[in-house]
């Protein structure tokens, strides 16, 4: 039981991240199935729905990663189109929210708004959009306009993109379709969907051609730990990812972001904080630790460790022995060229400091390159028996370090099954997780209000 408190128990939100294109995903396990076949997605989604999860989450990447000028071949490579697979999943689930990561840099608002509004109609109100922005011309080479924006403008485009999409969603109020066969009135208003948007990035006008969808607008997710990211989320998102960290760091993040809401005229419960988190279960805590060590070694082969080090060093380190000591040369501080299409390279904002710290830690602990990468990355967030994991998750949420978690299993598609069968019932016994869906839309599951079409569209634009 969580600590005694006068507050009523918070209800935990849980979501399932289909494991994807990074070395978290263990493809070499005999139980690892396809990451492309629809049957994998269907199995995963049905498991999440059986467990009464809030939603399923898909990440995105719009160019195959490269390292040293060659396509990266050590991790899972390849993924389906986000909208298409989510729409198909709407056919094999009834309640599960369907969250897609869709880039605002290499898309246009009219098309993306149509796709989300369509997904919301076709799923009966279960669509959600994780708004991301792309930062590199490398990805842009796959698109008509290429890498057409300097980095600092991509963020302002993202904000304007979301604001514009909201204007399009709100261009239908929901009462326009009369469909009166007797009188012959289909539309109440010939101007349904009319919009004009004149801005820095978009100068568009006309009529949006998808009527207002069950949720009005899709639920909006925003990732990002940066100052800008926190502010963007506080202004306009319904949920934000943070990285899972310690309870204390989680609480600090939670307090900071929730504290920003009032400035945007929003209340504490209008933004959910949902970190992504991995997990390993065992019959006992000791067994889970043992499994976790094995999983981490599978996730970080010698070759993977070298490639991971190259994210920081920005040099070809293929000559180094992964079982040997860390390179004594310093990172190349020039433009990052060795690893392309990677979000991780941006995590290391001061490569010199990171390299120094890693060398010190490795020396102090007698770690090889591979040991270092295993120890510094890919640590499972929740390791233990089902009871331990349930308790840890509940403690984290009750202590306001998050509102729940987006769980990333390391195996496709069965990696969620054990959690659904063992951890979820324990959370339900504690009264902190639903035993049945109470509503039909994702907004219902997340406790978010259905937006009023008359609400000012600038909410997300500011």
């Amino acid at each position: 039981m969580s600590k005694s408190t006068s507050k009523p128990l918070k209800q935990i939100h849980l979501a399932a991240h289909f494991p994807g294109v990074n070395n978290t995903t263990v493809w070499s396990d005999p139980e690892a199935g396809s990451h492309i076949e629809f049957s994998s997605f269907a199995h995963f989604a049905r498991t999440a729905e059986r467990a009464k999860f809030d939603f399923l989450f898909l990440a995105e990447g719009l160019r195959l990663r490269e390292q040293g000028g060659k396509i990266y071949d050590l991790d899972v490579v390849g993924r389906p189109d986000t909208f298409t697979v989510l729409s198909a999943l709407a056919a094999v689930t009834e309640h599960l929210g369907l969250t897609g990561t869709i880039n605002s840099t290499f898309n246009e608002p009219y098309e993306v708004a149509r796709q989300f509004a369509s997904l919301d109609h076709l799923s009966g109100g279960r669509a959600a959009w994780n708004v991301v922005t792309s930062w590199d011309a490398f990805t842009g080479e796959n698109f008509r306009r290429g890498g057409f924006l300097p980095q600092e403008e991509r963020y302002s485009r993202a904000k304007e993109f979301l604001a514009t999409a909201n204007e399009l969603f709100d261009s239908w109020h929901g009462d326009e379709i009369v469909a009166d066969q007797a009188s012959g009135t289909f539309l109440r208003d010939a101007k349904a969907g009319a919009f004009v948007h004149k801005g820095q990035h978009f100068d568009i006008e006309g009529q949006f051609n998808v009527p207002r969808s069950p949720q009005g607008r899709p639920v909006v997710f925003q990732a990002g730990d940066s100052e800008d990211g926190r502010e963007f989320a506080a202004a306009g998102a319904d949920a934000i990812f943070s990285r899972y960290s310690t309870l204390k760091e989680g609480q600090a993040f939670y307090t900071d972001v929730k504290g920003r809401l009032a400035r945007h005229g929003r209340t504490h419960d209008q933004l959910l904080i949902l970190p992504a988190a991995t997990f390993v279960l065992g019959d006992t805590d000791a067994e889970a630790e043992e499994i976790s060590r094995e999983v981490r070694r599978l996730q970080v082969s010698g070759a993977t460790a070298i490639k991971h080090l190259e994210f920081v060093w920005n040099r070809d380190l293929s000559a180094y022995d992964p079982e040997g000591p860390l390179p004594d040369i310093d990172p190349d501080l020039g433009e990052h060229t060795i690893a392309r299409g990677r979000a991780q390279v941006r995590m290391y904002r001061d490569p010199l400091a990171t390299a120094r710290e890693w060398r010190e830690r490795a020396a102090a602990n007698k770690w090889s390159i591979r040991d270092l990468v295993i120890e510094t990355g890919n640590r499972q967030a929740f390791i233990g028996s089902p009871a331990t994991v349930a308790e840890t998750i509940n403690d984290f949420v009750q202590a306001d370090a998050s509102d729940g978690f987006i769980l990333v299993p390391h195996i496709t598609p069965g990696g969620l099954d054990g959690f659904a069968d063992t951890v979820v019932p324990l959370l339900q016994e504690r009264g902190v997780f639903r035993t049945e869906y109470e509503g039909t839309t994702l907004r219902d599951h997340l406790g978010l209000a259905h937006p009023d079409a008359e609400a000012p569209a600038e909410r997300a634009a500011s």
Binding site: L62, V77, D81, T84, Y110, G184, T185, I204, Q207
Partner: protein, 419 residues
């Protein structure tokens, strides 16, 4: 296919006395007649629900049809060429066709799913992976119908290019002809980029080689390096080669003085939809497209040509005529179309299709005037009639759309190049 047993008195297959033809239906909201939504069967308040579309496609599958196409557009429907018409008495608004197809895919098992995509304002990279994914979620039943749009109001929804105001009487002006040629050539480039992306993964690129730690063989992933007049795409796709290798590419082409639409069929498609109004016209169109096909160096490749017809089907021919007149009166004008508008019985339609088929058409895409009425008339009236004549299948003979159309799974161009 268990549902085939529910068809009225299917005759057992015998040696075909006439060539089998292929049948598709074009789905567009309540039907192709602008007043279709006012029929009692129309369900106009459900046009934006999944169940409406699932019911239509399931009905088409019960009739063993080869595939359905789903209309789409990047602006409200309009009777005018280049701007909204402001009408409130017709259906306006629609859902994204690729998403409709994907939503229906897991609930059907044999019928092909061919959504419309607009090449003019969308990204070939996005569409390539979307249709590849549709092929995965339908296990090999995906295609696309590529469309060019010169509508200025649709261009204004994207704000990246502008088109002149179009009037019917301008259609023969040099400026407009140039624009049409340009848009169709851009669509051909689009299809080329999409096709290369489908081939950018060889079929056996995923190796999961535990010994070397490699998930893919990067030598079997290919940059497509497409450079066209309007865009370039580097590749490879993020989505592996789809089950059919190449999902079907289809397009509608009318006769035109520019020749560009027929050139698109000849260069780029697996199925072309054409709109002959009689056998002579059909013969001329088939010859014109075959000439373009030859000019594109594809004479040996299969290219299906489907005749498009709008159909009002009733067991009494007078009832079909009366229905059209009733709907025309509701619309306020007599309905005409680029395609021939047929009114009559399933038997009469079967006669017409077989007659047109003699001109070299390999199939037909029927546009139900009223989806809720004319689609069941096709599946439960026309199909049994064609089966009686041994001119249509009695059960699905293949699990993929290519299989249904007798098209082989194509070799991968990049694998062939370095083999």
């Amino acid at each position: 296919m268990s549902s085939s047993s529910s068809l009225p008195s299917p005759t057992p297959p015998s040696s075909p006395s006439s060539a089998a033809l292929h049948l598709a239906v074009a789905l567009d909201s309540a039907g192709w007649h602008p007043a279709a939504w006012r029929e009692p069967v129309a369900r106009p308040d459900e046009l934006f629900t999944a169940s409406y579309w699932t019911d239509l496609v399931s009905e088409a599958e019960r009739g063993l049809l080869d595939f359905v196409t789903i209309e789409d557009g990047l602006g409200p429907q309009s009777a005018r060429l280049s701007e909204p018409d402001g009408r409130t008495d017709q259906v306006r608004g629609r859902l994204d066709a690729v998403l409709i197809a994907a939503r229906v895919a897991p609930l059907t098992s044999h019928i092909g799913l061919v959504p419309t995509v607009v090449a003019t304002h969308t990204e070939p990279f996005h569409i390539s992976k979307a249709i590849a994914t549709l092929d995965y979620v339908s296990t090999g039943r995906a295609g696309l119908r590529v469309q060019a749009s010169a509508r200025r109001h649709e261009a204004a929804h994207f704000g990246r290019r502008s088109f002149p105001k179009l009037r019917i009487e301008d259609l023969e002006t040099p400026a407009l002809r140039e624009l049409i040629v340009d848009l169709f050539d851009e669509a051909a480039d689009y299809v080329e980029a999409v096709r290369r992306l489908w081939d950018s993964w060889e079929d056996d690129a995923e190796i999961r080689d535990v010994a070397t730690g490699r998930f893919v063989d990067r030598d079997k992933l290919h940059y497509i390096d497409f450079e066209g007049k309007y865009f370039s795409v580097k590749g490879p796709s993020i989505t592996p080669r789809p089950p059919q290798g190449q999902p079907l590419v289809t397009a509608l082409a009318h006769e035109s003085t520019t020749g560009a639409p027929f050139r698109l069929l000849g260069r780029s498609t697996d199925i072309g939809y054409v709109t002959p109004h009689d056998v002579d016209e059909a013969r001329a169109i088939v010859a014109a497209v075959r000439t373009e096909q030859e000019a594109a160096g594809r004479a040996e490749e299969p290219l299906h040509l489907f005749g498009d017809l709008v159909v009002f089907l009733d067991n009494d021919p007078a009832a079909a005529v009366a229905r059209k007149e009733r709907l025309d009166a509701l619309a306020g004008y007599p309905y005409t179309s680029d395609a021939k508008v047929f009114t009559g019985t399933p038997v009469q339609l079967a006669d017409l299709l077989q007659e047109l088929q003699q001109a070299g058409l390999t199939g037909f895409r029927l546009r139900p005037a009223v989806a809720g009425h004319d689609l069941p008339a096709i599946t439960r009236g026309l199909v049994p009639e064609l089966q009686r004549r041994d001119a249509f299948r009695h059960s699905y003979e293949a699990d993929t759309l290519r299989g249904l159309l007798g098209l082989a799974r194509p070799a991968n161009r990049y694998a062939a190049a370095h083999a």
